[in-house]
Symmetry: C2
Subunit: 436 residues, 2 copies
Amino acid sequence: MKDKIEISMPDIELKEKALKVRKAAMKICHTSNEQRRDALNKMADSLVHYSEEILEANDHDFNVAKKKGISQSLLSRLKLSKDKLLHGIDGVRKVRDLPDPVGQVQINKKLASGLILQRKTVPIGVIGVIFESRPDAFIQISSLALRSGNAAILKGGSEANQTNEAIFNALQSGLNKSCLDENSLCLLTSRKDSMSMLHLDKDISLIIPRGSNELVKFIQSNTRIPVLGHADGICHLYIDNESNINLGIKVALDSKTQYPAACNAIETLLIHKDIAKEFLSKAIPIFDSKKIELRGDAKSVSLGVKLSADSQDWGTEYLDLILSIKIVDDLNDAIDHIQTFGSKHTDGIITENYNTASLFMNSVDSAGVFHNCSTRFADGFRYGFGAEVGISTQSLPPRGPVGLEGLVTYKYFLTGKGHIVDDFSSGKEKFIHEDL
Amino acid sequence: MKDKIEISMPDIELKEKALKVRKAAMKICHTSNEQRRDALNKMADSLVHYSEEILEANDHDFNVAKKKGISQSLLSRLKLSKDKLLHGIDGVRKVRDLPDPVGQVQINKKLASGLILQRKTVPIGVIGVIFESRPDAFIQISSLALRSGNAAILKGGSEANQTNEAIFNALQSGLNKSCLDENSLCLLTSRKDSMSMLHLDKDISLIIPRGSNELVKFIQSNTRIPVLGHADGICHLYIDNESNINLGIKVALDSKTQYPAACNAIETLLIHKDIAKEFLSKAIPIFDSKKIELRGDAKSVSLGVKLSADSQDWGTEYLDLILSIKIVDDLNDAIDHIQTFGSKHTDGIITENYNTASLFMNSVDSAGVFHNCSTRFADGFRYGFGAEVGISTQSLPPRGPVGLEGLVTYKYFLTGKGHIVDDFSSGKEKFIHEDL
């Protein structure tokens, strides 16, 4: 992927488009919760109205892509069935009904008589979205961006161009019936533009990539704009010596097999040396029956794991029914392994010892630290956020599964009556710093 | 500055140092509030104990720097008087007394029976600090980092090497008496290391630069690690047509002159055309009496401003008693100017019209939006945070003046009893999502 893409500087046309979106973003800031809810409603209605056109465009894209011989997995992500579209439209109405993330007062403080400081959540501004193939992601992310008062510049995969244009026309037609500026959404269709977008750090405040690890890595390495997302999801489960073996096997199975292609599936099982023999003798037949390919270190091979893991395995996200296994000396050894090979996504421990669990959870520097449950729970919907913008593996917030609140930031509003700092320096006035 | 520095990859020695700090960071995570308070106390005591050595080392650095002919402003930042040192030590005790930012529960939710999700604040990990000259900044940032449960790798200006080493020895000696790992702080003394540090994105989670705009810009452009700080502080004050002129002049004066070298001082005054004549006829003599050099656009020159501003002026942070002046057509014109030339730091409006103020504050995308008060209030201490790590002009949090809370992040702790996702997919279990 890196070889295929050249990043050219944004041309005048793109800059003008971006400026329009930025100006639209300045208008959405002022809209009320009700106005944004209404816009989403009208977008959903419009998607219903234009659904035949959208499905026809998708048929066209799908047939062209098929003739070109693109991969089956890409084809299935590209395909927008009527059900998938209706599900997407339903998603818009669900996002409409989420609580407003904008205007939350986080700090409300009297600095001095008549001098009031407020910190309130505000939209981020313009969000740049780059996604591969999936037209349903276009619908979802557009509604999330507008719901949170942001404008968005979107670039979908070129193989979905006609579908995306049909969806975009439907969304804009809905927007036109609402009081939101139609330039709140902008669709880019050329690959050149999508990459030039990475240079628009004056206009775009956040990039959300939706696609392969390679796409995310490429974007992270080629922009100064913050990127919300994650490249790898190398998750671990550690089986402590004081664990319930049946519970451990059950959780390991779910963490690996419930949806192996997900970023929150585990890739490596770490097992305490004192329990390894007993655990593996029970687990291997069960893993085998679920067609999981096991790749073990020397010790676990000596305990019955058939294939040997090599040094590559510990840093590989299989996205498949493959699981690497390592026997560790103790908790610290397990934590060291995770810190070295993990991707700060989600890591779990199985233990009956509360102190060990607590030590693990405090030490492991991942967005999610789990005790006696499947790593597959690391998900915005399962966490109860109602929507998921993505999962971030950055150290700084927002991290982990990010809901609508990841699409707002905050700013400080200070209101006075002619207050000047000199009066405080001279001692004429004094700070109160009283919470209101 | 850019020409002088070459960024080499970290050598083995630096990597080993960084690993030690990272391991120390994993230990501090577990320390209690009292343990971290105690460590700060012992660090303060130790600084008192070694104060003569520190002051002697500083004398040496100062004399060497003076002979080398470094600038007066650098010399004055380098000089550590006894008073400055005592003030710094007092600062450590003040940071000790700030509320613990770690372990704050932000989300506490029952996902299902026995499956509990908590989001709690946690230390970020390892903080990289790069600062120029000021040895007092070394003391301050070390105490802030440890107070919030982080470890820190610090690099000071080479002209302060002996001072920094003396301070470092004192701090480590204090740490040794506490239960914190002495590797929680690490001092780098070679310039090569300080820049290689920018490549340590596996070990360092946040960079805090303390120094010139050039230093900050250089760092921002040369690392993938998040940088907390700001390069420019180009702040504006807009005088609306419905403003109280005397109040406007008073606030403008304070915003410009109270400390012109500060990042929150204004550089540009924007004046509504309908009030420009009256405002300037009153303001110019007062600005003149305060020795402020005014540089105006054509319209304001025609109204009495002596010097003409050129296109460079609108994007320049003078850090001096210079103020550029522009007459704007209306509120939107003012906002456009700020969006084009501002640095998202702090921008204010003077108006008696509440709606205009509200429109301005919602539209201007800066960390601080102020109404009828001086931009100089944009400061962690004045906001009542008790400490200031820096001021961030990023769009995403933390932004604006950042207190201790900017040195923590959060993670998700999920505790179950063998819960697996498959049971929820199959309908055997149902999510509750109940706030606790």
